[in-house]
């Protein structure tokens, strides 16, 4: 593009006034305080908001978990009624999956993908803001069912029909589930499109696909899984919603419908969802272990291709959730076989991490502890997974606590521990101060011990025959001892989370008295460590030219004639100073927030009064059109378009043009049929 100093002269000769035909506001300027956060389109701020909100819902879901454990601590528990218990375990699952771990992974994806590929921002900054606000409004909407919906959903996170039908779940809980997850789904879908385009299109010169860090790769695979999984759950949720709100006959066996339809649709989404949860953590671990082994990741291409293989194979195993549903012995057999072989690429990853540690110099920072803990804990989850890939064995194990143990070892032991390690690793990059290592280690060990005490005994309980989703058990079943241990473990996990928050508080308080961490406190390997901490708003002063994988490491180190590693530049010399001026950044916008506010209003409207839908729809429509009609830049803002960022500039502007179109098409497709 050509850079103009004139105030945006139009080729058509029209006056600037037409740029705001609806009297639209000028684009807000990057100010201070809450307005800045509400209108930001900066991928880093959006990432931080994802993270903060995810941690909030971690606490919510954690409180629900503690209630479950209190109820089950002893036989014939009386803490919760059966009704409340069913709501609590449903919302625990929904919260932890959709409102904690997915957005926490989204926080990493948003913050780190552009930095790791050397980009100024994501491809569509405003769509990025839209994703966050839509997700948040969906999350809040979902939880308001406690207050206005007559309780939370009580159908389990898997919400099998016909138990989820109006006849068997008459409160509004399931309606909130169906609509809330649809809203959150829009967010995931928009975000997936955005990040895929970012990964494919916004890479710095020289950043070929196979130079991308493993984390970015795993996040990219995750986005593809989301891209294809979200529409399937959207279909399922639409059908459920039509059944409940408009008397359709998709899942009502009385009308001849087949309840297994829901199970297929749900698990076609639900199994890739497992990899959506776990792959980002795999990526995080693949960044941390090499850094603290002082070695490159072992078998980069195998790491990447095993991730892709998991992504593909993840689509062919969904019915292993349905081995006892009565889908027929041949189907069960086929899915049993495919499930066993998905263990292979997963094993490749584990062995490559071990090979990375092999011969390395392991420095056990908190991040490294979490990463190594993830490898060990995920291995347990993976191996128990193999035991129920055997369809015959699964007939004994499914829907027992053995499965609860298994997927917590995968999701908590793999996903949560991994992402926790990521928090410690990237914290200085994001906030400009380090988390206290001593407290961090206390956090790690309490969490690891609490985790194993909670979920380890569940293997035993499951094999002893304790069913899932029961709110009570008899003393004669012999479940009391291990349940008590699990409950104690759960409170130790809670303690570890408290330690984490205290650590954040303390580290922040102490930060001014400690030396700043600098751009690269860990002697790390990828591009995000090349810029100052916290990352400057414009990311890179100038877009780096990438010449190898682990680009940043290779800017610091080279090899002498004996193939020994020698330092060729200090961090100080190699970093960008973050002092570039006049870098043209996408202007903030309030419209994503407005669109996001409209969606839950449509949701309430569908449940309580259809007129509200008109209001919500109007808000969404207004938001989308105003969004598209608002100028790309604030014309009043002082622009000094540096020639050097010519390319990025063009992307942003160009991108935002049809961004609205995308929003229109996406949001429209999702909610249009209401």
């Amino acid at each position: 593009m050509a850079v103009t100093d004139e105030p945006l002269a139009l080729t058509t000769g029209e006056d600037l006034v037409v740029d705001r035909p609806l009297g639209v506001f000028t684009r807000p300027q990057g100010g201070k305080g809450w307005r800045d956060w509400l209108s930001t389109v900066d991928h880093k701020k959006i990432g931080i908001m994802y993270g903060v909100a995810a941690m909030f819902f971690f606490v919510v879901g954690g409180i629900e978990a503690l209630l479950i454990r209190l109820q089950l601590a002893a036989p014939d528990g009386q803490i919760l009624s059966a009704d409340v218990y069913n709501q609590v375990f449903t919302m625990h699952g929904v919260t932890m999956v959709f409102l904690f771990i997915m957005p926490l992974a989204a926080a990493f994806a948003n913050y780190l993908i552009p930095l790791q590929i050397g980009a100024r921002d994501v491809a569509f900054p405003r769509l990025n803001a839209l994703s966050f606000w839509v997700w948040l409004s969906g999350a809040i909407f979902l939880n308001t069912s406690w207050i206005v919906g007559g309780g939370g959903a009580d159908c389990g996170w898997f919400c099998y029909s016909p138990n989820s039908g109006l006849a068997f779940s008459p409160s509004h809980g399931v309606d909130f589930y169906a609509l809330g997850l649809q809203i959150a789904g829009i967010a995931s879908l928009v975000s997936a499109i955005n990040l895929i385009v970012t990964c494919l299109n916004m890479r710095a010169p020289g950043m070929s696909l196979f130079r991308m860090p493993v984390l970015t790769w795993m996040l990219l695979v995750t986005q593809f899984l989301l891209l294809f999984a979200i529409p399937v759950i959207t279909v399922a949720l639409f059908l459920l919603m039509f059944d409940r709100l408009f008397d359709a006959q998709f899942f009502n066996p009385e009308a001849g419908a087949d309840p297994l339809l829901w199970q297929h649709l749900f698990w076609i989404f639900g199994h890739p969802e497992v990899y959506i949860i776990i792959l980002p953590a795999f990526g995080v671990v693949s960044e941390i272990i090499p850094t603290f082994s002082r070695k490159p990741i072992f078998g980069y291409s195998f790491m990447v291709f095993s991730g892709i293989a998991i992504g593909f194979m993840g689509w062919g195993v969904w019915a292993h959730h349905m081995f006892v549903s009565g889908i027929g012995p041949l189907s069960v057999w086929a899915f049993s076989m495919s499930t066993m072989f998905i263990a292979v690429p997963t094993g490749v990853k584990i062995l490559n991490w071990l090979a990375t540690m092999w011969g390395g110099k392991l420095r056990f920072t908190t991040a490294m502890l979490f990463a190594v803990g993830t490898v060990a804990m995920f291995t347990i989850g993976g191996l128990s997974g193999v035991t129920h890939a055997l369809a015959p064995a699964d007939t004994q194990q499914t829907d027992t606590y053995y499965i609860v143990a298994h997927f917590h070892y995968v999701i908590f032991g793999g996903g949560v521990l991994g992402l926790m390690g990521g928090l410690y690793f990237w914290w200085p990059k994001v906030f400009g101060f380090m988390l206290n290592e001593t407290w961090g280690k206390v956090h790690f060990w309490t969490m690891l011990i609490g985790f194993n005490l909670t979920f380890g005994p569940m293997h035993v309980l499951g094999l002893q025959g304790m069913s899932r989703r029961i709110d009570t058990y008899s003393p004669g079943f012999g479940f009391a001892f291990w349940n008590l241990i699990a409950t104690i473990g759960a409170f130790i996990i809670a303690l570890s989370v408290v330690v984490f928050f205290l650590n954040v508080w303390k580290s922040r308080r102490d930060a001014p008295h400690l030396p700043a961490p600098g751009p690269d406190p860990w002697d790390a390997r990828s591009l995000e460590w090349m810029i100052q901490s916290p990352a400057p708003e414009h990311n890179f002063d100038e877009v780096p030219i990438v010449e190898s994988d682990d680009e940043w490491w290779h800017r610091k180190y080279g090899y002498d004639e004996n193939k020994n590693v020698v330092r060729i530049a200090t961090i100080e010399e190699a970093t960008q100073k973050g002092d570039a001026v006049g870098v043209h950044l996408p202007a903030p916008s309030f419209w994503p927030l407005v669109v996001a506010l409209g969606l839950p209003i449509i949701g309430y409207g569908l449940i309580f009064n259809l007129w509200l839908c008109v209001l919500g729809g109007a808000l969404v429509g207004l938001g989308i059109y105003s969004w598209a009609l608002e100028p790309v830049d604030d014309p009043d803002a002082d622009h000094d378009h540096g020639h050097d960022d010519h390319d990025d500039d063009d992307d942003d502007d160009d991108g935002e043009g049809a961004e609205a179109e995308m929003a229109d098409a996406t949001a429209g497709a999702e909610e249009g049929a209401d």
Binding site: N201, F238, P631, E656, A658, A660
Partner: protein
């Protein structure tokens, strides 16, 4: 749509229109995003079509409300409206080519024609729905009817959104803001439009033409 074009017009320093030298793949972000989005849409319609195929002969336990859509299909009528929709893809191409030539009146004419053909299709669908309901196929009657209305309804909503986009482009062109440099915007709307058409060909074949035995 209008939004996009106004945007682009405003963005006057974007002289090259949609030059793509800025992206790694050489495809512009917006176009790539539309392709990716359409990939996702395939699964959406895949799920809905599968649901319909599962239920297409499911009359429920009866004896009430057992008329299913296949009983009342009017194939000649739907063939005509399908043909209309197909033709709209042609006019969409003509609109794009007119814009590339810089022929704004022709662009507008073809855009309007495309939108109107889409409108005729939607009108046909509304007529079809009402006549089916008159013949006793209610949305709530049995799994087959619920699946039929949901699938075709979803498609109808997609076509309607396409019409909104086309009309927005038309208005933008009317205001002189749709210039040859904006061909990619039209192209992207066209991608969406062609996709919706292709999906209909699939739906028409699978639902209407393959006989129920």
């Amino acid at each position: 749509m209008a939004t996009a074009t106004v945007d682009a017009a405003v963005d006057s320093h974007d002289e090259g229109g949609h030059d793509d030298h800025g992206t790694t793949t050489g495809i512009s972000n917006t176009k790539l995003a539309m392709w990716v989005f359409l990939g996702s849409e395939c699964l959406l319609f895949g799920g809905l079509i599968s649901t319909y195929l599962l239920y297409k002969t499911n009359r429920g336990p009866g004896p009430e409300n057992t008329v299913i859509p296949t009983d009342v299909f009017d194939i000649p009528f739907t063939s005509v409206s399908s043909f209309v929709l197909l033709m709209s893809s042609l006019t969409m191409v003509l609109a794009l080519s007119a814009l590339t030539r810089g022929d704004n009146p022709a662009t507008r004419a073809w855009l309007l024609t495309t939108a109107m053909l889409g409108g005729v299709f939607i009108g046909g669908q509304v007529y079809e729905f009402t006549s089916f309901i008159r013949e006793g196929v209610g949305f709530t009657h049995n799994p087959a009817s619920s699946a039929f209305y949901t699938l075709t309804g979803f498609h109808g909503v997609h076509v309607s959104l396409g019409i909104v986009m086309l009309m927005s482009l038309y208005v933008a062109s009317k205001q002189g803001k749709l210039q040859p440099k904006h061909t990619e915007t039209v192209e992207i709307v066209g991608l969406y439009w062609h996709f919706v058409d292709v999906v209909w060909i699939f739906i028409f074949t699978v639902i209407y033409l393959i006989p129920v035995d």
